[in-house]
């Protein structure tokens, strides 16, 4: 196990390094520059003064080198747009996205597994068809459209839920704030989990050990939940491992529509403004999170499925 951890750690560092190199050079190859230099009415002298201040006159390779040295010392530099430390900007935005992601995954997993089991147990019945229909709808509807429709319905017309992040006084206010963003984000994650659980359950229930369990005369509930589900969940765990990091950076539309100050919006704002330091900072943090969550999933995987214990 220790060997596995050490090897994965080494691989992770190399991966993060490769990601930073690609990001840094791609970003600098893109036309344009930091938005402070890209004003329509800025003069050449103003642009030169700003480029000098931001240290953009050095060759890209030199700039990458100095960024890397500082990053290893924990200094991700200053945001080119606001002058604030990059780490501070990430730290102030991260919790919002993290909360959103956790609640979405939690909601999707609980509901998704339940619906997946119902769907599998009632294969080819109206329940199965209804759940499949819902899954297809969830995956097909664009989230920005659905979000606007939800706002018009629940905020404008019914006035039940706030349309953006507001500082609430009570727990109920906080819950109300989360309902729409979590539901919208779940439309993409929930169907995935439902479908994985369903197909995995269907595969497992035809296995010999399930048949054996039934032959032993165990109750159907015990067969499904103790014998089938545990094994059916293994591929579902790997999907959850993919969903969490994707959520941490992929919530941009929901964050924009609901005025949610999270990481997704930060990445897009940084890229549009060619805030090189901020883009690099966010990339590093998100890459580390992806690597970390995959790592954790692998460990859980090995615990749940004894066959993959000797993964290393």
């Amino acid at each position: 196990m220790l060997q596995f951890v050490i090897r994965r750690f080494g691989q992770s560092i190399v991966l993060v390094l490769i990601v930073t190199i690609i990001t840094f050079f791609l970003m600098n190859l893109a036309p344009g520059g930091p938005s402070s230099m890209m004003r329509m009415d800025a003069t050449e002298a103003e642009r030169e003064a700003i480029a000098e201040q931001l240290g953009l006159n050095d060759p890209v390779i030199v700039r990458y080198g100095s960024w890397l040295i500082n990053a290893f010392q924990g200094d991700l530099g200053l945001s080119l747009s606001s002058g604030q430390p990059v780490l501070d900007r990430i730290v102030e935005r991260f919790p919002h996205t993290f909360n959103l992601a956790i609640w979405t995954v939690f909601f999707s997993v609980i509901i998704g597994i339940v619906l997946g089991i119902i769907s599998a147990k009632n294969r080819n019945t109206w329940k199965d068809h209804l759940i499949n229909f819902g899954s297809v709808i969830g995956l097909s509807v664009p989230s920005f459209w659905l979000a606007i429709m939800f706002i018009l319905l629940f905020s404008v017309n019914l006035q039940w839920l706030p349309s953006s992040l507001v500082t609430g006084d009570s727990i109920w206010d906080t819950i109300k704030m989360y309902i729409m963003p979590v539901l919208i984000l779940s439309t993409a994650t929930l169907p995935t989990i439902v479908r994985f659980t369903r197909s995995s359950m269907l595969e497992v229930v035809s296995q010999n050990y399930v048949r054996t369990a039934r032959a032993k005369g165990l109750k159907e509930r015990t067969v499904v939940y103790s014998h089938a589900l545990r094994n059916a969940l293994i591929p579902v765990i790997s999907i959850i491992g993919v969903l969490i990091p994707r959520m941490l950076s992929g919530t941009v539309i929901v964050e924009s529509v609901f005025g949610w100050p999270g990481m997704g919006r930060l990445i897009v704002e940084a890229a549009q403004a060619r805030d090189y330091n901020l883009v690099m900072g966010v990339t590093v943090v998100v890459t580390i999170l992806v690597v970390l969550s995959n790592f954790i999933v692998d460990i859980i995987y090995s615990k749940v499925d004894p066959r993959v214990k000797n993964i290393g």
Partner: protein, 543 residues
């Protein structure tokens, strides 16, 4: 299968939303107290006003990254020496009055006494000198808007309440420019600060201004709250707090103003206009601005050097049709750079180029361009009139460009549309001056001085995008800057406008009207565009 399901779902949700539509904004009203619906004209104290901004603001108007969202906030937090008056002329703000010297090379500003910064320190001439000498005129900083003050040599403190602007050349528009995103910063807060753009304790965390509202709380990406400054020199504001909600999505802004969660903002996108107009709680205010849309052709390219070609292009474009469709009719055809809201200078009887395909073709024929080989494309000496039309992906620009392209194709131009992200557009078109034709807009202070966008010295590198060079226009623009007498200036700018309309340095498209959405609970808001009303926020009150 997926497609049908999606259409069904879309239909169901749309029906659901539409069905409950009428109960919309007139039901429960979070902000409006029904007991206060009386038409009282006495200002009421207290209350909160919600205004949307699209991004995180920077509390420093001179910061190179201070964009529209920052300008809105900074107009409330800080003040300039002058502000836009209700008559569009510069009005007193931190300066009580101003006079130019006889040779026009020194402007003296008498500052208002008894003005306090939000931290209680007295505002003096040192603050003005610091703002200009240390920030704006410090070339190594590249301050936002510094190019507007190229004529200013230095600011000299005469006494604590008098400053002099010493100029290299006469600059009659100085008071107008000072009303345009040129707020004064507190010298005492910047003492010992090496790089003012990295001074986040001020720029992002705790700004100190002289405005009617002072900083209270701010959560990045979420909201900013300002509270009433009781020692405000014009008397404390009526409203208690102003909350700026950071909402990048315009649809969310519209939804929130319909549900009374927002009170006022500038409406850039007219697609939701009908819905907003039909809401009982809102009014749509229109106003003229100093903004005009144009097409710039590369005048170093022989294709566009003949004025007849440029005139033909304008005859070929149905500008009114584009105004009606893209701007929902909120705009008028432009003939020069001077906009209608400059009542004292705007000249109405200018040569114009009505939509007339035959005239366009005739002018092109005079210029030697005809479709001789019958391929539908104009040609001359065996060469087709082919060019690229670059357009930035921002706002309505692409929509406008597509229509313009179709009109130009109709008379035989071979136009290829090339869309670019904003940043990439600036790099290619503005910095590298690599373009055949572009469409964009300028906005400037309420003053007819447009030298920056037209003078030959700015061709190739400055704001003279098409690279137009004309000694006659240069001389007129220089005179306009040096003459202070309004009647004399009017004569000069009449000639400027005629020159522009005849020679088309840019192809003038339209003067858009500014649309502002305003909740009916807001009272005593002047009839200006949204940005202008913020200078008077101390006089607003809520029902």
């Amino acid at each position: 299968m997926k497609k049908y399901l999606f259409i069904m779902m879309a239909f169901l949700l749309t029906v659901l939303v539409a069905c409950s539509d009428d109960s919309a904004s007139n039901d429960t009203d979070q902000n409006t107290d029904s007991e206060d619906s009386s038409e009282s004209t006495e200002p009421k104290q207290g209350g909160n006003v919600n205004i949307p901004i699209v991004g995180d603001p920077i509390f420093n108007p001179w910061h190179p990254n201070a964009y529209a969202e920052s300008n809105i906030v900074n107009r409330v937090l800080f003040q300039g020496l002058t502000k836009p008056g209700l008559d569009n002329l510069p009005a007193p703000s931190l300066a009580e009055d101003w006079t130019p010297s006889e040779d026009g090379l020194v402007w003296t500003f008498n500052l208002k006494e008894g003005v306090k910064w939000h931290d209680g320190v007295e505002f003096t001439a040192d603050d003005v000198a610091f703002t200009f000498n240390d920030l704006v005129l410090n070339a190594s900083l590249g301050s936002n808007g510094a190019s507007n003050y190229k004529a200013v040599k230095e600011v000299v403190v005469v006494d604590p309440h008098t400053v002099e602007f010493h100029l290299d050349r006469p600059f009659a528009s100085l008071p107008a420019y000072l009303a345009f995103n040129s707020e004064i910063l507190p010298a005492h807060k910047f003492e010992g600060v090496e790089n003012p753009w990295e001074y986040t304790e001020f720029n992002k965390e705790a700004p100190v201004g002289t405005g009617a509202f002072q900083f209270d709380t701010y959560t990045s990406g979420q909201s900013l709250t300002l509270k009433r400054f009781d020692d405000y020199h014009n008397g404390a504001a009526n409203i208690e707090t102003v909350t700026f909600k950071i909402l990048p999505d315009v649809n969310t802004q519209i939804a929130q103003v319909l549900s009374n969660e927002l009170d006022a903002f500038a409406l850039e996108d007219t697609s939701s206009l009908k819905r907003l107009e039909s809401a009982d709680n809102l009014e749509i205010v229109t106003s003229d601005t100093t903004r005009y849309f144009w097409i710039a052709t590369d005048l170093t390219n022989p294709l566009f050097q003949d004025v007849k070609v440029r005139q033909a292009m304008l005859h070929a474009i149905d500008r009114q049709a584009i105004i009606d469709s893209v701007l929902s009719g909120y705009g008028t055809i432009a003939n020069s750079a001077i906009t209608p809201d400059q009542e004292g200078y705007f000249k109405e009887d200018l040569p114009t180029y009505e939509y007339n395909v035959d005239k366009a073709k005739a002018l092109l024929k005079e210029a030697g361009w005809e479709d001789t080989n019958g391929d539908g494309i104009l040609d001359k000496d065996g060469k087709d009139f082919s060019f690229e039309f670059d357009i930035a992906l921002q706002g309505d620009l692409e929509q406008m460009a597509v229509l313009v392209q179709q009109y130009l194709i109709e008379v035989g131009f071979d136009v290829k549309l090339n869309t670019l992200e904003w940043n990439a557009m600036i790099q290619k078109n503005i910095i590298e001056r690599d373009f055949d034709m572009i469409l964009n807009w300028w906005a400037y202070p309420t003053d007819p001085d447009v030298l920056a966008q037209y003078h030959s010295s700015n061709a190739g590198t400055g704001n003279n995008i098409p690279g137009y060079q004309n000694e006659e226009l240069d001389a007129l623009l220089e005179q306009g800057q040096s003459v202070g007498d309004p009647a004399e200036r009017k004569e000069i700018y009449d000639q400027v406008q005629v020159h522009m309309a005849e020679n088309l340095p840019y192809l003038y498209l339209w003067y858009p009207q500014a649309l502002s959405v305003r909740s009916d609970r807001l009272q005593n808001v002047p009839d200006l565009h949204f940005g202008g009303t913020l200078h008077y926020i101390n006089e607003w009150w809520v029902k």
